[in-house]
């Protein structure tokens, strides 16, 4: 085979000689002075447009009134619109100008860059291997397993300080941080006898005010402390955490349509049931309820919960039912919680229990 190729090549070379690199075809701007000047003007014009946009940006910033009582143009906030368009134009025209410059006027060489082998030279590789082998031989690591194994062991053990130090940086997710009411993943601010109040306005609710088909977005009264209820004021992150964990949806379902879970027979008040508003999948707040089916649908990933059936999952990626808040009525006739939620609200985590409805009964109420 090897001696055939040169012959063939010799023949084809004779028939069709190597043409070499084709002669360079120049751009009109390289050979035509008029075209060159035109391209020059184009590029300068684009840079000029950019400058105009920049000037207009400053003018718009000074003259147009932003904000709620500001100028309006075509139903859009005039200030934002003008600032965005002019600054965008200023940057865009510089970019277009540079590209046009490069395409029409900058040097037009064709460059050939040869490939180089990535491997080191044969001598270098041999020398390195020889040095490594000499090292292995002289240290005697193959002949002295005691030393080798104790070294491996001590190096592996060096991971322990890292684990201990990093572990001590913070608590595990299920551990309680701080000593305020409802801290940690397993508890919320709901307690035995705490009133259910309307979200935003914070007023307590009587069962007679809840009609069939009503959907209440509610909170515990601890979120809205007043002089009357005498509850401590919550502030800052503590308030936000408490509010987001304790949010509930409450609705009245005709008693004959309600299927209370095992051990949950007395958790409703004449068909009024309350569930955590936090999806058990990844914790989005849910209040997209279909009145006719009692299906509560999470807008994030379409998990659907049947509120007439203990909040069981009927569709979607959620792995657990919505935690239900046991309800009762206090002596003043307002709706109250019988206890905190009997299970953690929100998304699952490693350490939480996996009890289904029925495995957690009233015994868990405290």
């Amino acid at each position: 085979m090897t001696d055939v190729h040169p012959k063939i090549n010799a023949r084809t070379d004779a028939l069709l000689p190597d043409p070499g690199i084709a002669e360079h075809a120049w751009r009109p701007t390289d050979v035509d002075a008029k075209a060159e000047r035109r391209a020059e003007r184009q590029v300068a014009g684009l840079f000029g447009l950019s400058a105009i946009c920049t000037v207009l940006f400053v003018v718009a910033y000074v003259t147009l009134e932003p904000g709620p009582d500001g100028d309006i143009f075509l139903g859009l906030g005039a200030s934002n619109l003008a600032l965005g368009l002019t600054l965008g134009g200023a940057l865009l025209f510089i970019g277009i100008g540079i590209i046009q410059w490069a395409r029409k006027l900058m040097a037009d060489h064709e460059i050939v860059e040869m490939r180089h082998p990535a491997a080191s030279s044969e001598e270098d590789r041999e020398a390195t291997l020889a040095a490594l082998n000499a090292g292995l031989e002289e240290s005697g690591i193959g002949r002295r397993p005691l030393i080798r194994n104790s070294l491996l062991g001590s190096v592996a053990l060096l991971g322990a300080p890292a684990v201990v130090l990093l572990r001590d940086l913070g608590p595990l997710p299920s551990e309680v941080v701080g000593d305020y009411q409802g801290a940690g993943l397993e508890h919320t601010v709901w307690t035995k006898g705490m009133r259910v109040v309307r979200d935003v306005v914070g007023t307590p609710i009587r069962p007679s005010e809840v009609e069939i088909g009503d959907l209440f977005n509610a909170e515990p009264e601890a979120i809205f402390p007043t002089e009357e209820n005498g509850l401590p004021e919550l502030h800052g992150a503590e308030l936000q955490v408490a509010k987001s964990k304790a949010a509930i949806v409450m609705l009245r379902i005709p008693v004959d349509e309600l299927v209370p879970g095992e051990g949950r027979e007395n958790w409703h008040v004449d068909g009024i049931v309350a569930y955590s508003k936090i999806c058990t999948h990844v914790g989005c707040p849910i209040s997209l309820n279909e009145r006719t089916t009692h299906h509560l649908l999470c807008p994030c990933h379409q998990s659907t919960f049947d509120l007439a059936d203990s909040g069981r999952v009927v569709f979607g990626p959620a792995g657990r039912h919505l935690p239900q808040l046991p309800l009762a009525v206090d002596e003043d006739g307002y709706l109250i919680a019988q206890s905190d939620f009997t299970e953690p609200v929100g998304p699952s985590y490693w350490e939480r229990d996996h009890d289904d409805i029925g495995e957690q009964g009233e015994a868990d109420l405290s």
């Binding site: 075809a25 050979v31 029409k104 306005v201 009609e211 009503d214 009145r291 649908l297 659907t304």
Partner: protein, 291 residues
């Protein structure tokens, strides 16, 4: 004669619509009903109609226009295997009728998950008669009066305060279905929550009171009447609000914005990339032979 003219104008306006046949049929029925009503001695005086006359006229309209789905006594109809044809209207109240018929949602053109808004079939008087009839069946929410929902008489500061309060209530109770901008959104099984940006304040109030289709009820025990007015003030403020961030793209969030970013944004960038990498035009001329 006036009634005839009105019907004729209405027919010519709706002649080319898709539901024209149905509307025409209903118009015919209404016309005959109307003629009957005009010649029957009980309802000659329009402005001094008694409650009983309104109920009676409403019942007649109901039997022609509504009873085929809702039953002859508004008791609701189901098929043999329990599928609902039309729900019972006992106890839904005048507000529900005023909302459903007053926005053209009822009578429905065909059964389905969604009763879309369309041009009204009945005039104001007939809607009032139907509402009076349905309200006479059992107590239910009444049609709100103008001072319940109108934000007209409010001072600038009162309105400002109402918008702030209403905004919080809207964001807590309404955005799940109707979107932060009130533009509406998708619901299960092909339904949708309609946009609130064109809706009449009275109809917003009635929808909260009665919970049309699969919407929850926000009764006066749930959202008090003054808070309902705040919500309406907030929705009205959203209508007047210009798009500070540029075009809203329907306010539908990631779907329309993502489509725009992928098609227009990335499309433009691909265009620039093609332009940058494309060969420039070449000349046949040699250097030094400039023309």
């Amino acid at each position: 004669m006036r009634l005839l003219n009105r019907s004729a104008a209405s027919i010519s306006r709706h002649r080319r619509r898709r539901g024209a046949g149905l509307v025409l049929l209903l118009m015919g029925l209404l016309l005959s009903g109307g003629l009957y009503a005009a010649f029957s001695p009980s309802s000659t005086a329009d402005d001094a109609r008694t409650q009983a006359e309104m109920v009676e006229n409403g019942r007649r309209l109901f039997l022609t226009g509504c009873a085929s789905c809702h039953g002859q006594n508004a008791e609701g109809l189901t098929t043999i295997n329990g599928q609902m044809i039309g729900p019972s209207l006992v106890g839904v109240g005048a507000a529900a009728v005023d909302f459903q018929v007053g926005t053209g949602r009822m009578p429905m053109a065909f059964p389905g998950v969604q009763a879309p808004e369309k041009p009204e079939v009945y005039n104001e008087e007939e809607v009032a008669d139907l509402a009076a009839y349905v309200a006479s069946l059992a107590p239910g929410p009444a049609i709100p009066s103008e001072e319940d929902y109108s934000t007209e008489g409010m001072s600038e500061e009162e309105k400002e305060a109402a918008i702030v309060r209403g905004g919080q209530i809207f964001l807590t109770n309404c955005t799940a279905c109707h979107n932060f901008t009130g533009a509406g959104g998708a619901m299960p099984h092909g339904g949708y929550a309609p946009s609130l940006l064109e809706t009449d304040p009275k109809h917003i109030y009635e929808a909260m009171l009665t919970g049309p289709q699969s919407m929850d009820v926000f009764s006066n025990g749930n959202i008090p009447p003054e808070a309902k007015k705040d919500v309406i003030a907030y929705i009205e403020s959203m209508r007047e609000q210009p798009g500070y961030g540029g075009f809203g793209l329907g306010g539908l969030g990631p779907v329309s914005e993502g489509a725009f970013a992928w098609i227009a944004g990335i499309g433009t960038m691909v265009g620039f990339a093609v332009w940058i990498a494309a060969h420039t035009t070449r000349s046949q001329k040699k250097k030094g032979h400039a023309a």
